[in-house]
Amino acid sequence: MNKLLGSVLFLAAAWAVAAQTGSDVQDQKIRQLEQKVDELDQKLKVAERKQELKDEQLSESAKSAASVTADTGGFTIKSNDGNFLLKIGADLQVDNRTFLGQGSQSFVDTALLRRVRPTFSGTVYKYVDYFFRPDFGQGQTVIYDAYVELKYFDRAKVRVGKFKPPVGLERLQSDDDTNFVERGLPTLLAPSRDIGYQISGDVVRRRVAYAVGVFNGVADNGLSDAAVSNHRDYAGRIFLTPFQPDERNPLRGLGAGLGASTGNVDGEALPAYKSFGQNTFFTFASGVAEAGHRTRLAPQAYYYLGPFGLLTEYGLTEEGLQKGTVRRDIAFRAWQVQATFLLTGEAKGFTSPTPRKSFDPRNQGWGAVELAVRVGDFSTEQGIYNYGFAAVTAAPRHAHEWVGGVNWYLNRLFRTSLDYGNTNFGGGATAAAGGNRPSERALILRFQVNFI
């Protein structure tokens, strides 16, 4: 009995020990598993947090990242805050000139690169704009525009460098916005580009634009990279658009103003005046030099209403000329009136229209089509012959032109134009024929891409 009891107790104790040992092992395994789970949980949390931080960093980077865009405005790199900007643009014009009628044999029909102008422009530090535009057209390399402009105050922007002095209306219009492939006769009497300083701005709620500046001084329609004397040219322009802010006013597109310049011309190059076909029709006699003062006046106006546009200006240059001991002030005058009509109904303005539908015939898009016509006149005094400043047999003192054309804007950037220009000359005689210089009849076809 005792033996039996002892055996039972032994078995019970062994079972208890075995059970206890099993429970300990189980607890240990559970603890190990818990530890593993904790470790895995930490690893997962760390991975998630790292991703979270990475996302935050990407989001922060995106906030400050520069943007690169390519659209109708050109190719642009812009800092996130807009304070830094680089725009890469181009102005490419390919012309085909054909001369017709009497005297055309003395001109060469040609296809040429009229303008090849890459453009780099933009902003640094929010308030400073820059603009750089060389020209490689017609086999030459010329810096046309190179300036910086501090625009902290909208009402008084300060521009320094080489740019268009504020005189002629059509001269101030961008090359891609003009109604004709070549500008009218008054532009011959306005400076093209000059180096100087200018303050400009819009005041009276953008109803009045003004610009005043000091420049080296250049010949009519000329450009230069350096002054030839210590004298300076002073130029200014005021232009009013009194109804511009009122969108419903039919006179909203009316603008009128006056540009002017004055300065000493001693030692400056003589101007050469060119026709619509870009042939020089007026040159000075040998031995003639600029001497004394020059004053330019350029009253100007435009009016735009719906698809209709009208632009007119007058140019007067009175400048001192000298040959030998003879010095006189001679006046040159020119005027023009241009009218345009967009057949496709787009709104006309001082800048090129944006076609309602870009050229895409499969989707009924044909771009915008515009008819344009202008008349203009150029003249100088009889005294130009009397004082020997020009030869009556080489330089007519009168030119009268009319030009008709069609502009086809395939889209915002590409345009093709076909212009026919007739220029009659008077007041001078050619040595060969004994009569007036023959009329110039030029047909110019242009293909143009422009984006800045």
Partner: protein, 333 residues
Amino acid sequence: MKRTLRMLPALMLGSVLFAAGPVKLLNVSYDPTRELYQEIDAAFAKQWKAKTGADLQIGQSHGGSGKQARSVIDGLQADVVTLALAYDIDSIAERAHLLPANWQSRLPNNSTPYTSTIVFLVRKGNPKHIKDWEDLVRPGVSVITPNPKTSGGARWSYLAAWGYALKRNNGDDKKAEDFVARLYRNVPVLDSGARGSTTTFVQRGIGDVLLDWENEASLALNELGRDKVEVVTPAISILAEPPVAVVDKVAARHGTAAVAKAYLEFLYTEEGQEIGAKNYYRPRSAQALAKYASRFPRLQFFTIDELFGGWQKAQKRHFEDGGVFDRIYLAGK
């Protein structure tokens, strides 16, 4: 006409008075001082109004100390800066010339109205038994601290660890570097600022210990409750001296030089010191320190000048690109 001319000065004065709104002051500070300056700003604006009758609006900007300094250099219009370390204000003086190089001598205690130190925030019950710096390098201990290249607080933590190792190893620099390298091998995530690290530790539940400003750790303790976290104060740590300065050129431009100076001087007043102590910044005032003594455990301090030769040297050696931190952290990755 004469009458109009006579009226002109009165009209001008009237227009000036009409145009004059409340005086505006911008305090550009580091990450964990939000609560401190909210209280300081309210107290000072009240005092300024009573003294001058003028309303005062104090704006606050917070972020990593180095990042904040860069923002001021880049044009952030700070009338005063209250940053985590003198090096960041030195940068503003050197690179942007907005205040003189001797800015630190213009206010008492090297322009440091309060001090702080680096402590440990651990989880309730301190399951990893973290008591001092040595415990942070044990395998299996996960340490949370921000990136010392972007966070002022993290630079203090890094130097605190380095200083501890130097002291323990009789100034042996190699052993100190090895210690800090081992510590950063236990850091799984590097946030850019102190607030980010607090989020990592507290809200995301990552890590066993957070190296933190004493005030930040104490605030976390109050906000989360003692049933969630505990503060462990090591036996030895660094005396962190976050300085303050008027940004002279900006304040002069804003016409706020006088009020900016008064604002910083207010930090040294008993009222300012008490507000600092209430927010767990160690006050310079013995009176305020005595009043809030229970908040600030006693420990042995060393200073940055004492062990590292000042901030310029420490910055150049440890935190510049290619410095010691880059070397040990990249090696540990």
